[in-house]
Subunit: 148 residues, 2 copies
DNA sequence: GGAAACCGTAACCGTATCTATTACAATTAG
DNA sequence: CTAATTGTAATAGATACGGTTACGGTTTCC
């Protein structure tokens, strides 16, 4: 199971997107964000740091400081976010290399890397169909029409 | 990152599929299998136990005992294997529930479960396009034409 | 009936990863 | 100068995972 960094990253970008609709210059502080996510501000800063490295957000220290979106919510796909916070391949290979004395053991990793790569690519492509703006729209629709 | 159980499970089914081409009644023992995978027989038995629960293999104790395929390799997709060994959702939600005082915090999990579910579904669908027979064919093609 | 070869599973260990937390230096606005 | 913020290292605690040992249950075969 994939860790929760991706989930938190999308949450944070949705927060910043919502904040920007009220005031474009108001930066989100890690402390305020941490309250919404229900975690520690350091955890927020670490994840936003990854997003900054990917060019999605910027940060500024000091009073009036905080974090700002660097791209339009409509332009940021969940795939962009995923790739900003997840570095490794989705599927892991054998813990220890399989036997080289066995035809299957000798060749299955190459085979599986091909097949698994296709599957991960399909997953990322689906993520690429949704943006942060979609997420915020969906969240706000739920605010107006809460589940029964 | 997903653990290596899925990888090992596919490896084991490919081994059994290869063994069956030589002799349909010869069961694969967890000890022989563990040598190819380069792990401990108990690890093999644990994973094959999951596959048995899914109806993909059967086991038999005693001398001449071991593990046998219960379905045609051409009928077993990687999706079947994935679902046999992976129980939880691919993406994890927040470690602690987000703030209920925030519109985003209150609704984002429902939104993300929808979007993440679509992405996981796309990944599984791609896995569904490949079978154990495909894996073994690909492995054997590499045996005949090794990479340079 | 007894020995040998399997599976089934519980128990435990060491390691890695993840989240949370504290602490503190660096930067900036006012 | 003060206060508010980021940046990051260090650490702790929890969890998951793979590896290993141990041992009981089942089956084959002599």
């Amino acid at each position: 199971m994939i860790n929760s960094r991706f989930t938190v990253a999308v949450h944070l970008l949705a927060l910043m997107s919502a904040g920007r609709e009220r005031c474009a210059e108001a930066a989100l502080t890690s402390e305020i964000a941490a309250e919404s996510v229900n975690t520690n501000p350091v955890v927020v800063r670490r994840i936003l740091g990854s997003l900054r490295k990917a060019g999605l957000v910027s940060s500024h220290p000091g009073p009036t400081g905080g974090w700002l979106l660097m791209q339009e919510p409509r332009e940021i796909t969940l795939r962009d976010v995923y790739r900003a916070v997840e570095e490794e391949a989705l599927f892991s290979m054998h813990h220890r290399p399989p036997s080289s004395h066995c035809a299957v053991g000798r060749n299955i990793q190459d085979t599986l890397e091909t097949y698994f790569g296709e599957a991960e690519c399909a997953m990322q492509s689906k993520l690429g169909e949704r943006t942060i703006a979609d997420v915020l729209d969906d969240v706000m629709a739920r605010v107006r029409a809460p589940a029964v």
